[in-house]
């Protein structure tokens, strides 16, 4: 490959993933892989109408099928006590009421579980579920966001409600150069490799152990405790490994409660593994979102006004909102900005946060529009961004805790060879392919929440660190080990043991929103620092940098020395705006005859503070970039609105990138610490790895072809028309 020479050689710096050996040998146990005596398997029968009521349901054949222990429907399912009390057992981060399975005969979306079969083998449960037949009273349904945009309204609650306005946003209309365009991001589905799993085992009448695929064991524990009216400590949730989630395991979904309910009924462990089809409409998705960006600039490229409007889908029973338009408020130094965010309820299941939530959707529109504006102005798109760089947060006037975006632009531009880019689109070719360069910026809030960490020095020389956080694959265990090893420089990495994914451990927040390295890392830092101090006190003055911990503990007759520390961000943070930034650079090749797009080169630069764990951080940036390429070029959950049913709910028809789509990717880090956020100076990077990438690809495609695709994904057919 020609391009290989220009890339950084394979990067192997930094400590290896601490769970690497477990993962490469198959020893890592994901939630479906616990072996429990008398295990049973649950499989759902689903509705094939979209809206209406079940008038009758025939479960006889299923009940008679070999191996079947129970068939749960709304007619016979034992009551979930927390449901009856009218509480929301899964306590979603949204207003409205979450769906509950088997409580009444209503059908609210196509594919909604209408019965659950529990049998002694997976094959038998699956077959029996196929025998269930239901009759419905069908009602007219609506699943098409475009068609139902007129019904959209501002959300009633949540953080993203309400219009925003500063200055006189309509000023864009009077500007010398204007862009007014509509953009569409279709449904994207998280589609992690691991299917959603709940394995519930009642160990006593009032005690349940659950192995769950969740991003937060504590939140799952609370949801189950509330649903079944159990003391929280009677619910044990274990999640040692998560096979990717990207947001779809952020909340407790109704099928998880149903599994716990079924296990109580059959008095045996019940395992539910959702099929790939059900990943599309049971555990959330990135909502279809229509956007319009109107912006104006003076002839010298200074923004005068921006209006960013968005309308997204939600379900008929819950409001789901995300920060789609929020980035536009503070990204550029523009005196007049207005944002409008609306949602429209449809007969679908509720969307949920998917990697780079909201911002990824918003950045596609904003960063595409910026590219369009640069094109109209006839200036380089990076130059346009630099001319409108916000030195302080224009939304609230606060200084940024750190911002090295200009440096990031420079690093990325150098690396990709931005100087080879032609201002005029469609003018560069290589071997008969059209060549284009594009870039896009990503941004996401960088904060620090509260976490509790227990750190202990054991007399066998181990430094044991414990907290309930999960690792969905991003390398939390590795980063935390790295943080601890930088404080306990005398303890080899191999002797540091980070225990996670267990609700009985000290509480950490749910993994999501790019906060874990900051929040849990901050607490690990604080706990280790205090433990070190405690040890210093133990040995008195005269301690060395690398004391013999084992010897001292043994001498003092202490099996272990421990601290438990709860910590969170400083109050100083309130005086600053704090964000992580990314800049994605892409070189694409477009086949002029067939419209096929190939990503030829990618450089992603992260301005996310100090890089704690270089090896896993690099992988996270690369992974996010690839997710963004998928969003740009191929991902789309397609529904046949006549039926309200997905037509591509599998990995063959819903395309995610495969190896042949992806070139070598350079992940670069500005790597300047921001100690205002946390003592490591680290900011999050999970979201920014993806945010802005889809615009970078679309902008590169425009640069290659002169065709501006404003509706993702950019499939070959769109470039032919």
């Amino acid at each position: 490959m020609k391009q290989q020479a220009q890339h950084t050689p394979p990067f192997t710096e930094g400590i290896n993933r601490v769970d690497g050996i477990m993962k490469v040998t198959g020893a890592a146990k994901y939630s479906a892989e616990y072996e429990l005596p008398g295990m049973t398997y649950a499989v759902f029968a689903i509705s094939n109408i979209t809206k209406g009521t079940i008038t009758s349901i025939d479960t006889k054949a299923a009940e008679r099928a070999p191996g079947v222990l129970a068939v749960l429907t709304h007619l016979n399912a034992p009551k979930v006590p927390g449901y009856e009390a009218g509480k929301d057992p899964s306590k979603p981060p949204t207003t409205g009421g979450p769906l509950k399975f088997f409580v009444d005969n209503s059908v609210k979306y196509n594919g909604q579980p209408i019965a659950m079969v529990v049998a002694d083998s997976f094959e038998r449960a699956t077959y029996a579920a196929s025998l269930i037949k239901a009759q419905y009273n069908k009602q007219q349904h609506e699943t098409d966001t475009e068609k139902n945009k007129f019904k959209a309204a501002a959300p009633k609650g949540g953080r993203n409600g309400g219009d925003y306005k500063r200055g006189t946003p309509d000023d864009w209309k009077a500007a010398a150069v204007k862009v007014e365009q509509e953009y569409v991001v279709p449904i994207n589905v998280h589609n992690p490799m691991e299917l959603s799993v709940t394995l519930a085992h009642w160990t006593a009448d009032d005690k349940v152990t659950v192995y769950a695929k969740t991003q937060g064991v504590k939140s799952t524990q609370n949801a189950i405790a509330q649903a079944f009216k159990l003391p929280v400590e009677n619910v044990q949730v274990t999640t040692k490994f998560v096979g990717g989630a990207f947001g779809n395991a952020l909340r407790t979904w109704p099928h998880e409660i149903a599994t716990v309910q079924a296990a109580k009924l059959v008095k045996r462990p019940v395992k539910t593994v959702l099929t790939r089809e059900l990943q599309f409409n049971t555990v959330g998705y990135r909502p279809y979102t229509w956007q319009k960006v109107s912006m104006g600039a003076s002839a010298d490229g200074k923004l005068t006004g921006i209006i960013h409007e968005a309308t997204a889908q939600t379900s008929s029973f819950e409001e789901f909102t995300e920060g789609t338009v929020n980035m536009t408020r503070f990204m550029y130094a523009c005196p007049s900005v207005g944002t409008v965010y609306k949602i429209t309820p449809l007969d679908v299941n509720t969307p949920t946060w998917m990697r780079g939530p909201g911002e990824a959707t918003g950045a596609f529109a904003l960063e595409s529009a910026m590219d369009e504006l640069a094109d109209k102005l006839g200036i380089d798109p990076i130059e346009l961004r630099i001319r409108n760089h916000a030195d302080t947060d224009p939304e609230n006037g606060k200084p940024f805790s750190s911002k090295n975006l200009k440096e990031a632009y420079e690093m990325g531009a150098d690396k990709i060879g931005w100087s080879k880019r032609k201002l005029k689109p469609g003018t560069l070719t290589e071997d008969g392919w059209l060549i284009g360069y594009g870039m896009g910026t990503g941004v996401f809030g960088a904060g620090r929440g509260r976490a509790t960490v227990k750190a202990a020095l054991l007399d066998n020389g181990t430094l044991l660190i414990q907290t309930s956080v999960t690792d969905i694959g991003v390398g939390t265990g590795t980063a935390m080990t790295q943080i601890a090893s930088e404080i306990f420089t005398g303890i080899p990495v191999k002797k540091i043991k980070f225990e996670l994914g267990d609700s009985s451990l000290p509480p950490s927040p749910t993994q999501g929103g790019s906060t874990i390295t900051s929040t849990v890392g901050g607490a690990v830092h604080d706990a280790c620092t205090q433990l070190k101090e405690k040890f210093q006190q133990l040995i008195g003055n005269g301690g060395t940098d690398k004391p013999d911990y084992v010897k001292v503990l043994k001498e003092k007759n202490l099996p272990q020395l421990e601290v438990t520390v709860t910590s969170s961000g400083s109050t100083e943070m309130r005086n600053f705006s704090s964000y992580s930034y990314s800049v994605h650079f892409v070189k694409v090749k477009v086949h002029p005859k067939t419209g096929v797009v190939r990503v030829d080169n990618v450089v992603s630069v992260a301005d996310s503070g100090h890089i704690v764990s270089p090896k896993t951080a690099r992988s996270q940036i690369i992974g996010g970039a690839i997710g963004g390429i998928g969003m740009a070029l191929m991902e789309e959950g397609i529904m046949d609105h006549r039926y309200g049913r997905y037509v591509n709910n599998n990995y063959a028809d819903y395309h995610v990138p495969i190896s042949a789509d992806i070139p070598q990717i350079d992940a670069l880090f500005v790597n300047k610490p921001d100690y205002r956020v946390n003592p490591m100076g680290a900011k999050g990077m999970g979201e920014i790895a993806l945010i802005g990438m889809s615009a970078a690809v679309a902008n590169a495609v425009y640069n290659a072809t002169g065709k501006r695709i404003r509706e993702l994904p950019i499939t070959p057919d769109k470039l032919l028309s």
């Binding site: 094939n48 094959e123 699956t126 077959y127 196929s130 008969g432 086949h591 005859k593 067939t594 419209g595 096929v596 190939r598 070029l633 191929m634 397609i638 046949d640 006549r642 039926y643 049913r645 037509v647 591509n648 063959a652 028809d653 395309h655 990138p657 495969i658 190896s659 042949a660 789509d661 499939t715 070959p716 057919d717 032919l720 028309s721």
Partner: protein, 329 residues
């Protein structure tokens, strides 16, 4: 999946005896059949695993007409890698390697590839109408999401496409199919093996009940030097074709002595472009002639909305594939 009876006979005779009974399916590689059974699209009472039959091997036959015979149980990967195939019919090798994934090619057999069913989503989802899966239940795709669907040879009943890449190449190569039954042996020209949907879209091909595909025979040709298989798809690999084009050219002194062209992703069967082949015969290998051939090939094409783009993509792909085969680009 419904329980079924599984047998693995050791002789062809026992297989031929077994497959005459209704509700019986032949299992070879299983890469499509097991998938369909998992989704309840097909629920056989009995599977006859034919892996014990000696239907493997690739051999050259130097009789009156030189031919290459490929056993029906030969794996897709083995055929693609085979020296004889790579040298004599690189088009077939290219097409096979464009299909599925390395793992699936290690499972899928030649006969099984021919027997694979459409990937039409309405066919796969038993909650949707589909005349192919359930005659007279209607066609969901006609007015539905039909981006992947046919533009040639459609009927009121069905607009599904055959998903194979291998078959597109074999159609272009004028292969024939040897089939055996209790009545004896017969040979079906490859282009007549698959059929158009017409009034009976439930029938994918012309194989009769009780018949077993035993081998595919490919006649010698002079296309080896100028062959190309172009597959246009939504991602770079492991995806079904939006459009695929198989080209074999016999070019002598810049003139096309003989041309073979077939398309995938456009019809219920591999779609031979006879008019275009006829046109190219004797003409110089130029882009202008390729453009003319492509426009001839497109006569009679009809799209259904989401697949309108195929009316543009197909001729563009024909020109691109021809240019590649002729080494013009």
């Amino acid at each position: 999946m419904k329980q079924f009876q599984y047998i693995r006979p050791a002789t062809q005779q026992s297989v031929l005896d077994a497959i005459t009974k209704p509700g019986t399916k032949i299992l070879a590689g299983g890469s499509n059949l097991i998938d369909l059974m998992k989704r309840g699209v097909t629920s056989p009472d009995k599977l006859v695993d034919i892996q014990k039959l000696p239907l493997r091997g690739i051999s050259q036959n130097k009789g009156n007409v030189m031919t290459v015979s490929v056993g029906a149980l030969e794996l897709n990967s083995a055929v693609a890698e085979n020296k004889i195939i790579k040298e004599s019919f690189p088009l077939l090798s290219m097409a096979l390697n464009a299909g599925a994934s390395p793992q699936l090619r290690n499972m899928a057999t030649v006969g099984g590839n021919m027997m694979q069913r459409t990937r039409c989503t309405y066919f796969y989802d038993t909650a949707m109408p589909c005349n192919k899966r359930e005659p007279n239940s209607g066609c969901g795709a006609m007015e539905g999401i039909n981006r992947m669907h046919a533009i040639f040879g459609t009927s009121e009943k069905c607009i599904a496409v055959h998903p194979s890449d291998m078959c597109v190449a074999l159609a272009a190569l004028d292969a024939s199919v040897e089939v055996k039954s209790k009545k004896g042996t017969r040979y079906i020209p490859f282009t007549e093996f698959h059929r158009l949907p017409g009034e009976t879209p439930q029938l994918d091909n012309t194989l009769a009940t009780g018949e077993l595909i035993t081998r595919v025979i490919i006649p010698h040709n002079n296309f080896a030097k100028n062959s190309y298989y172009l597959k246009v798809r939504d991602r770079s690999s492991y995806a079904f074709a939006l459009i695929s084009v198989a080209v074999g050219l016999d070019i002598r002194g810049g003139n096309i002595n003989e041309a073979r062209l077939a398309m995938g992703g456009v019809a219920h069967k591999p779609w031979r472009l006879k008019a275009a082949e006829q046109f190219l015969k004797g003409k110089p290998a130029t882009v202008a002639n390729f453009e003319e051939a492509a426009s001839l090939a497109m006569q009679g094409a009809k799209s259904f909305g989401h697949n309108d783009f195929k009316l543009k993509m197909a001729p563009a792909s024909i020109i691109e594939a021809l240019s590649n085969a002729a080494k013009l680009s």
